[in-house]
Subunit: 412 residues, 2 copies
């Protein structure tokens, strides 16, 4: 008997039939004696329908009122799911964010959860009821309705699991787990049974968009075991458990390979190497709301420095123009750029305690004749920038080199 | 400068354009310096869409969850109207029923308002904002979402007006006021400038379905001046003010003529006249959930009594069967019935102080050869039952007899 928080996204509750399917899934857990709290999103398409209405009455964005409007989406789903559960003999009760006192700050459309009152939920669970909570929403200290922003339902689920000290937080989605890499690129990509929070964060931020990064951070912070699994019939399975490092996991050197197609690289060369030069170069980029991803700086022998960074490909032209202006201002020699590049990263907590991971990576790429244009490393990740045309070849080579198509012996 | 509560129903807010139209109407009042609280219903069609979803997941009615579901309808409208107001420079803020603490009992789908907290609304009004409140909904003492049942938005508006001691509660609808009778029956039917609460109650319960009867009772109880007027462009006008009797109103003998097509009449004759006989006759009818409208009893010369009552035509067969059983039990002579009858009523506070109203009525009907089958009177109403075929003729005859097509001199 466990306490489980489950979250179902918009596609999983996108129709009457799918809501009934979710109800049947929930009942399986109830039938084996688990206590279940379910968090749901708005039915798919509903949020866009509401936003269209909003744009119809006022082309400008009204933050407070948009939250009032969008919060109805999940409210519809909680009522319908509670009804569907009752229809199959599972007593249930629905709550909006404000009804279970999901207290947030007042930052409309991107509010942060401050506190959750678990009394009502505990009472219902004690009486054998399934508790159905609206994801994505809360209320501030004045009772104003707030929303948590993109992927907010994941965050709600994790926050509820943390508050209730749940045994597991299950995120149901349209994939059946986290993969070693994108199966569309590498056919042999394998579902991971487990992955650490840190690895998941690196994977997510690098483009494996299974879970919202905020909810993973949250789960890690409060040590909530998080499981990603499929909500669709015929795709049942154990999913992927995201948790803290355990003994049995250390054998896996590399957990996965992430990549990002939409990168562009800019280089400013021969910059007089003075304190503050990084700020003078990146300051104007940041002010223009351009997000910088990788940053690499090399100091040359002649007292000048080369400075390279990557941005989203959409921001390339704008960033290039700003950088040319900066080059003139700081007296740099040259500005260069390339928007036909991609980033490939290997991620794994195993590399902390193992030498030679980087050289295995570089060797595998060299063997295929792939030229590395840029390297950046963190404690559990090594990223390289290569020419766009090498993306698939590089990812496949690395997947094989690190034997990701084979399940590690201790990780079954 | 006045404090006005306005209510717009589902048809008045049925599209983006109509919501913008409502915003412009509200702004007219703001521009002349009035404080405005607006109560809105769900966009027309929305409630049925939601109920269809509910029936899809569970054919049985779940009272609590249906209220959670339906409450989203008004929540969408309040957000959109607040946005539309801001778009034309009217600062506004939306509130759900529970956000302005419309405390109700726990009778889901037909809850009654117990208390309203006006602090938030007062604050917003003081800051020059239009307050937009979701009609039809509230929350019970445990924070469960409740709905007030059919026409509940009218009740919300009147309750807010009472709590705020508003100068007027304006109910915007698809008609431009209360008429002397149904204009589809009498082309000369005239919009009334004023009518008393009591008259309105008699008119409403008799089939002139302009306002929800509960909201009229509520307005009368708390002495909230109520105005019915049209929300549609091109139908602007003063509407009809519903208020307590005033000097200027006494000239109008009769305010209007109401009628009800769906009546059926049952008679039990030759009942031994003993104490408790009315209860023995009507008891089984009430227990069968059949609503009885008019009741007339005549005591005959032979120590027996005749007892006649009317029911809704749909209940006729059922009532007849029950009455036959009763006749056997009490030893009555005969049971008769007629389901081809209608009720016509004249309503007016003026008849309190004027004699001869009844005879004018009977004379007008007699002149047209209409046989009266049953008569019932109250302080401000006289109802007759006639054969169905005489409905239009009877209503027109009375409309002319009481000169309802001419505005009374003191009532302009």
């Amino acid at each position: 008997m466990a306490l489980i928080v489950q979250k179902y996204g918009g596609t999983s509750v996108g129709s009457v039939e799918r809501i009934q399917n979710v109800a049947r899934k929930v009942k399986l857990f109830r039938d084996r004696g688990d206590d279940v709290v379910v968090v749901v999103s708005a039915m798919s398409g509903e949020t866009n329908r509401l936003l269209d209405l909003a744009r119809g009455v006022n082309p400008e964005h009204c933050a407070r009122e948009t939250d009032v409007l969008l919060a109805t989406g999940e409210q519809v789903t909680i009522a319908l799911l509670a009804m569907a559960l009752k229809a199959i003999g599972c007593d249930a009760r629905s709550y909006t964010g404000s009804q279970v006192h999901i207290l947030t700050d007042s930052a409309h459309s991107k509010a942060r959860i401050l506190e959750i009152d678990q009394n009502k939920m505990r009472d219902d669970l004690a009486q054998g009821r399934v508790v159905v909570v609206a994801g994505f929403q809360g209320a501030d200290e004045h009772g104003n309705i707030t929303t948590l922003g993109r992927g907010g339902s994941d965050t709600t689920a994790v926050a509820l699991a943390a508050a209730l000290k749940a045994d597991e937080c299950q995120i149901y989605t349209d994939v059946d787990g986290v993969y070693t890499t994108d199966p569309r690129v590498v056919a042999e990509a394998r579902r991971l049974d487990r992955i650490t929070f840190e690895e998941m964060l690196e994977m997510a931020s690098l483009g494996s968009k299974v879970l919202q990064i905020r909810s993973v951070e949250f789960a890690g912070k409060f040590n909530v075991p998080l499981r990603v699994l499929s909500s669709f019939e015929g795709k049942e399975g154990p999913g992927t458990l995201i948790t803290y490092e355990e003994d049995g996991m250390e054998e896996a050197l590399i957990s996965g390979i992430a990549f990002n197609r939409d990168e562009a690289k800019l280089t400013i060369q021969g910059v007089p190497d003075q304190p503050g030069v990084a700020y003078r170069i990146l300051g104007p980029i940041g002010e223009a709301d351009i997000e910088v991803d990788m940053i690499v700086q090399n100091v040359g022998a002649d007292g000048t420095t080369d400075f390279t960074f990557t941005v989203h490909r959409n921001d390339y032209e704008k960033a290039l123009k700003l950088l040319r202006q900066t080059a003139t201002d700081v007296g740099a020699r040259e500005v260069a750029g390339d928007n036909k590049i991609v980033k490939i990263s290997i991620v794994g907590v195993g590399m902390r305690s193992h030498a030679g991971i980087a050289s295995t990576m570089f060797q595998a790429l060299a063997k295929e004749g792939i030229n590395i244009r840029m390297i950046s490393t963190s404690e559990i990740k090594i990223s390289v920038v290569v020419d766009e045309k090498y993306l698939e070849l590089g990812v496949r080579a690395l997947h094989t080199a690190f034997e990701l198509d084979q399940a590690p012996a201790t990780n079954a």
